[in-house]
């Protein structure tokens, strides 16, 4: 069974690497943030599988910490980075999306 899990871990990592294309392409900040959230889910799954493959329970704790902090990045993003940009540049709201996407 652990061999199967090892293959799955590899596929999940490949999944992350393929998903990096969304970070590259954007276009808006939210899309990149979503990609990052997706990666943290995949990383949690990888850690869980690795905990069973390597038979090392501490990795479950690492996954727990990652799961706990998954909310923090999104909340900071929405509460600080994204809304501040808007309040400051709302007058140029039309050009906003294109500028942000560089």
């Amino acid at each position: 069974m652990t061999e199967v899990f090892a293959v799955l871990v590899l596929l999940l990592l490949l999944n992350i690497v393929v998903g990096l294309a969304r970070v590259l392409r954007g276009p808006s900040a939210a899309d990149r943030m979503l990609a990052s959230e997706m990666f943290s889910t995949s990383a949690v799954a990888i850690l869980l599988l690795l905990a069973f493959i390597l038979d090392s329970p501490p990795l479950l704790d690492v996954a727990l910490v990652l799961a706990l902090l998954a909310a923090l990045a999104v909340v900071t993003f929405v509460g600080r980075a994204w809304s501040d940009l808007q309040s400051r540049q709302s007058e140029s709201a039309r050009g906003m999306e294109s500028r942000e996407s560089d």
Partner: protein, 99 residues
């Protein structure tokens, strides 16, 4: 290999397609709202099945509870995050695709 092991492994395998489809959706869907939808499937169903499968596979209550906690935390983060991103995107005037 016992039956619970097999069942656990099967559930983990069943969860994997959700991860791949989630990434596919992230790459192929046209705008942030639809991508939000793809992401939620991975967080909720994909990780849920993996956690459930591994909990069966581990065969220990304590590990199972920890896995359940991990899944619940991801659920909370995903639900709240999706709501916040969606609302903020709307407020910023980002147009949903096809409307």
């Amino acid at each position: 290999m016992s039956l619970t092991d097999l069942l656990g492994g099967l559930l983990v395998l069943l969860g994997m397609p959700f991860f791949f489809l989630g990434t596919l959706g992230l790459l192929r869907f046209p705008d942030a709202y639809t991508r939000l939808h793809a992401l939620a499937k991975t967080d909720n169903v994909g990780l849920g099945l993996v956690c459930l499968g591994l909990a069966l596979y581990s065969g220990s209550w304590l590990t199972g509870l920890k896995l359940l906690l991990i899944w619940l935390l991801m659920l909370v983060a995903s639900a709240a995050g999706a709501g916040l991103i969606g609302r903020t995107a709307m407020a910023r005037g980002m147009k949903p695709w096809g409307l």
